[in-house]
Symmetry: C2
Subunit: 177 residues, 2 copies
């Protein structure tokens, strides 16, 4: 079975990620975590993690979906072109992408939110400053799916995970969480 890639970056939000990860596990969907490199990456709540591979090493043929947690200040991420290219290629081949909290910024930056309805956990003035969001396509719903793109605000971490699980046609108990 193809894998879900899970992006990790410094200050990623553990709780935003964890219910989605648990649903992937329940549904028997294998994952692979990806970082800029394989040095330790500390989450916003202090969990110190090591990615399985760097984004540069992953074989796109083995991946059919992508999960992106938010992070404290996503605009300070060192945005390597390889990360944005990875998002573009996966979206171009129809991969399901689930992105929560501040991380839709990476989708907007990669150009894959174009003409898509989305939400994001950023204030409006922050979105304007970042300059890559189509503001007229913003929705204030907690979770939004438009085609292969699922976006959510941070406090929607449970329905976000459930929406991702359904989009991947996984078998899981959504009432557990």
């Amino acid at each position: 079975m193809k894998k879900t890639a899970v992006l990790l970056y410094p200050q990623f939000s553990e709780y935003e990620l964890s219910v989605a990860l648990s649903i992937l596990m329940q549904g028997g969907k294998p994952i692979i975590t990806l970082g800029s490199n394989t040095k330790p990456i500390r989450g916003e709540s202090g969990l110190n993690c090591i990615a399985d591979l760097s984004v540069n090493e992953v074989e796109l043929d083995n991946i059919d979906s992508l999960l992106l947690p938010g992070c404290m200040d996503i605009s300070t991420l060192q945005l390597e072109e390889s990360l944005l290219d990875f998002i573009r290629h996966l979206s171009a081949k129809g991969g399901m992408i689930a992105s929560i909290s501040s991380s839709p910024y990476l989708l907007a930056k990669a150009g894959v939110l174009k003409n898509k309805k989305y939400t994001v956990g950023l204030p409006l003035d922050g979105m304007e400053q970042l300059g890559c969001f189509e503001l007229h396509n913003y929705s204030d719903e907690l979770v939004v799916q438009d085609g292969n793109i699922i976006t959510a605000r941070g406090r929607g971490f449970i329905p976000f995970g459930i929406c991702f699980g359904h989009a991947l046609k996984l078998n899981f108990d959504e009432n557990w969480y």
Copy 2:
């Protein structure tokens, strides 16, 4: 400020831990993660983590509380006496202990559940087999606090985190989750 120790073991449950961790972060409470050693520890959903210290290295004077996630099959954990001693010493000096899902097994094994009302995410026959639980003190509530011991079943991961945050007198937005 004294720290909350967070135990990590192979197959620990990321989602059971993550809301409590986020509440500690919101409340400005520093944490330190502890493992049997500082080799990578993979959670049940695939997140690969490194503990900050091993249980043998930690200075008990710097710790006032303890958080224990569940794990897939806690009875297979290599129960080093140092881990049980750590739990005993922390409980003896009144440290607040929050333990979810299968992990109250470690508290029962260490003897700190004696005469305490508790819950646990294990089936009754499993509890009987393990032989260290006082069955008459079991409660089927989702979260139980008795003095310095908070226990919860896995699906109570949100009220569990909130109960721990209040017990530590932290300032946080409990309606976020």
